[in-house]
Structures are given as C-alpha cells and as structure tokens.
Symmetry: C2
Subunit: 334 residues, 2 copies
Amino acid sequence: MSKRPPPPSAHDVARLAGVSQAAVSRAFTPGASIAAATRDKVLEAAKALGYRPNLLARSLIKGRSGIVGVVIGTHYPFFLTALDALSTRLSRAGKHILIFTVEGDATADAHVEDLLKYRVDALLLMAASLSSKLAQRCRDEGVPIVSFNRPARKVQGFASISGDSVGGGGKIAAHLLQQGYRRLAFMAGVTETSTNREREAGFTDHLIIQGLPAPVREVGHFRREGAIEAARSLLSRRPRPDAIFCANDDMALATIEVARYEFGLEIGRELGVAGFDDIEQAAWPSFNLTTYSLPVDAVIERVAAILLASDAAEPPAFSMVEGELKVRRSTQRD
Amino acid sequence: MSKRPPPPSAHDVARLAGVSQAAVSRAFTPGASIAAATRDKVLEAAKALGYRPNLLARSLIKGRSGIVGVVIGTHYPFFLTALDALSTRLSRAGKHILIFTVEGDATADAHVEDLLKYRVDALLLMAASLSSKLAQRCRDEGVPIVSFNRPARKVQGFASISGDSVGGGGKIAAHLLQQGYRRLAFMAGVTETSTNREREAGFTDHLIIQGLPAPVREVGHFRREGAIEAARSLLSRRPRPDAIFCANDDMALATIEVARYEFGLEIGRELGVAGFDDIEQAAWPSFNLTTYSLPVDAVIERVAAILLASDAAEPPAFSMVEGELKVRRSTQRD
DNA sequence: GTGAAAGCGCTAACAT
DNA sequence: ATGTTAGCGCTTTCAC
C-alpha cells in the first residue's frame, strides 16, 4: 500500500518542460546563466510535478551538506532558547541542524562519528565534550568545531566560546562578602567539568585572596535532586554557613526551597543564596535569585557567525563572553 | 589554508586493501556476503585511512536518508525531555534528527519543505501545525507524519498522538468542584490552538453539565507574561473567583505568584489553582501545583515506534494518551 | 544560453 | 565470495 513512489527528478521536469536536465538544474541555481523564458518554463513544469531538488544529490557533488551538527548536553540550561536562536539564524542561511543529546558527562564522540558520515559543514558542541583525537580528525577533514561552555581544546581550528565562569565566580564571592556574609559555602556541580572547576576556582580564589578560608563544600551534580541532599548537608553543619553559592541556578533554586521549607530559614536575611546562569526561574518572585547571567542570544549570534563563516576563514581560537551579575533579594541581608 | 581535502572514499580503501570497491561496501554492510579475511583487510585499510562511509551517497541510492525531521513549537513544555528520549531511541536505530523550531502559531510548512528536500524518512511535529496541502504531499511521497499535541488531520496516513486534553480538562473541573470551589475561572492559552480549545472544552462542558455557569475567562497566551496580566484581571473581579484553571502549567505558576505576592492570597485555602502538563516545577514545594500529567516518555516511545515502523506498516490514525490528575496542595481548601 | 557528457561515493544486480 | 557494471539525482565543465 505505502510503496514509496520515487519523487519526480530533474529529468522528469526536463522532459515535461522540453529542455535538458542541465537547464533544470540551472533554473534552481541562483546565479546560473539561463534565459528568463526557459527558467519560467522549467519552474512551471516543476510545480506541476511537485518537483523538489534532492539536496542529498547536491551535497554529494559539493562535498558539503548544508547541515550543521549539534551535540548538546542535557545539563545545558538554555537548550530551547539557544536552539531556537540558532535554528532561526541558520535557516536563513539555508543551513540545517542535525541534533543529538548527550547525557551528563558522556563524550560526544559516538555522535560526532555519525555526523561526519553525513559530511556536516560544521559542528557545535554545547555543554558536551569531545575526545581530542576526534577533534583532531575533524580538523583534518576541514570540519570547523565550535565548542560552547567547554574548555578550549589544544587543537588548532577549534573555536571555543565560554561564559566567563572564573570572573563570574569571583564576582559572586565579592558580592557575598560585601553584603556581609562571612561563613560561605560552595555547592559544586559535576566536579570534573570545566564549567564547575572554573566557577569554583573564581569563587574560592577570591576568598583566599581576601585572606578568608576556603568555603565549605558539597557536591550537587548540577541537578535538583543532588542539590537537595547537598543543601541539607550544608545547612546541618555547625556553624551553619550564612551564604551558599551554587554552581548553577537549578541547584540554587532547590537550595532556597530546602532552606525555606525544611529549615525555616528566611532567604537573604538568614541565608544568602546565589546561583549561576540566570535561568528564567531565577527572576520569579518566589526565588528572586542573585546570579550571574550569560547573554545567550549574544553568544548564539557569535556561534552562528563562526558556523556560517566561509570555510576559508581561520576560526577564532577562543573567546570569552562576559556575563553580568544580577543582584536580587536572595542575597539581601536586611 | 583550510581548503577542504576530500575525505577518503571507498575507492581509496579498495586500492590500499587490494580489493574491489564493492568489497569495501560489503565490508561495511552488516548482512553482506564477504569472507572474514577480506573484511578484516578492508577494515584495516579503512582505519589506516580514516575512512567513513558517506551516508549522503548511500541515501541517494536508497532514496531514504535515515533522517527524521522534527519540527517543534517553542511553546512545547517537554522539549528537552522529549528530544532527549527521541534522540536516544532513534540513534539506536541508526536514525538521526534534523530539527527546526517554530515560534508560536507559525505553520511548519517552510521547514517541512526543506526537510522534504533531504528526503527525510519521516516527520514529527510537536506542538506545531502543518497546512493540509503539504500534509497531503507528504503522504503522496510516502513520508509518514506523526503529529503530537495537534489535532488529527483529516488526511490519510497522518498519525496523530495527543494527550487527553478534553478528559483532562473535565477531570480538573470535577476535582475543583469536589474540593468545594464554586466561582471557577479559566485562563486560556492561545485561543485558536486545538490544545487550548480542547482543554477549555473539557473544563467548561463539565461545569455546564453540572448545571453551573460557564467560567469567567481571560487569555494568557500560554506565556508567563500574558498570564500575569490575566491573573491580575481575574483576581480583581468582584466577586473574585475562588479557583482558576490555567490551560498550562507555565501560566498556573505565574498565577500562583501573582495571587500570593500581589494579592496576598493563600493558595489552596483562599484560591485554588490548577494547571495542565505537570512540568517539573509544578512539583516544587514553592508551588505544589495540582495539574494533569502527560506521560511524556510513554508518548515518545509510541512516537518512536511509529517513526521506526517499516514503511509498509499502515500508520495508526489517531491515538490518545491518557494522563493522570496530580492532586497537590494548590487545590486543598483546608 | 543551452545541451551533452562526466562524475560525486556509494549500492545492487549480474557475472564469474 | 568477489569483481564488473550500471546507475541514484544532481552540478559542472565543455562545446556549441
């Protein structure tokens, strides 16, 4: 019943229009030299048949598919925003997104292998990492890679864009101290990730430079469930910390709720809480979370620019996007 | 500098291995008849050269690309969850996802046109709609379409899966009445969408059948900002509604916050609030939102099954997924 | 401006 | 089991 009938080919259109198959190709190629009359004939025939150029065939010839491979970690907070912005941007340029998700700390290698088989024009890794061996091979094959929120690879031709995690962590520390909090704690995400390491380093280093002890610490794995445990543990210590910096907002929101509903603490006055990312919920009145915001749209714009750059262009090695400290009530003591 | 060097082809591998090019193809085709010895030779040569079969070429021959096109509306609440589940599921079957996002009520037509040019094996529309003209053409070309959370199309071969919106709306109504709420209000999403219409119909019809007046009503467009306005308006009415059913959870959460922080109402006792979808935040202690849950994983499983079904299979016309009423504290009067 | 012909990298008969 | 051959649907010389 549902035997797939082969879609009309350029040949079919050519026959109907009474021209050569090459003419059909030219009619669908923007800059091609073809008489307006012939093009119209072709387009009419094409419409009649419901012809649509087969991009696979075109890609086979050109060696480029018009497809951008995206591998995105399931931890990434701006998933939808980022993908939407990117999709819109790339669509305009006639590019498309072949997407994969990776769970947690898994490497993107397997997916990237697949992507290369489709001769993708470029790769974007968001909160996902790649073995340097594969990264090297991508470079060899001329596939530019843009990595977002992962450390710059030591491989040439690997563009890396990151939010300023170190600086952000430092600004949070400075802000908490300035607000008068003194017994600071840090809730780590997934310890091994660069994202976590940098946020923690920025925070801890600032404290140490100020002559303060390193903060108490628990690990929450960037997840709500982990954060609930970690928060209970931190808040049960004696002396109790008077402020907690969580490596991302998800954990910070969970921390606020544990503190408020399980420990009866007043957020801000009795316990300062700060996060990182400025996700949508951080600004909700229930939370009013002080956090460090990454300008997602600006970042995506930069990513898109690199992905769309002519292949001849030398990819920029590394760039850091400054965020902004968003001070809200979760760190107001009075 | 970055002239793209053509990747090694099957020919190159054949030459190095001292076999025919066809043998290389066979070495990479699971069921093919080839001597173990030859395959090993080929695989070794392939590894040496870094050969990877070009899927575009394969697709060109087979007429199917191994790609599933996904168009997803930016309103869709389970975006990440759904995509992750789907990606994992399809990867196992060697299929990949070409994705597009559509803003609001825009039709997916333009994107679907693009997708067809890539000879996608199937289409999945999540909270996005397609003109019936294009849907018909997909059917003609043998591209199965699965539509999630949009009304069943009147076109053959168009599988449609939906959460039970009508039933859910009814259950919410029954629950609110049973809790003793009497002055019910409804906050609509985007009025024209089937999602909204069905949720509203289920709710309103139940009330009318019970001999109650139709609920007061405002439109929140499925968005937080819209919901804030709508909630203010509803809560300023005299007599004030004592319960609000919002067409999705995003709006319900906003409503809770407006009621609590702007009107000083105690949620549950003074104002019942119910939502729809059971998004993650609904269960957070700050909200404890009563809502109707859709079993996303189960749905995706069903979607994947259809997408992966052999083309010969007749696509199931329409199927409804039952959800479950999640009663939480936002609708407890005492 | 247009057609004929070659070929992108692969699979699928068809021989052997 | 393996090599040979013919395309898949298109773009791109190259003549005209």
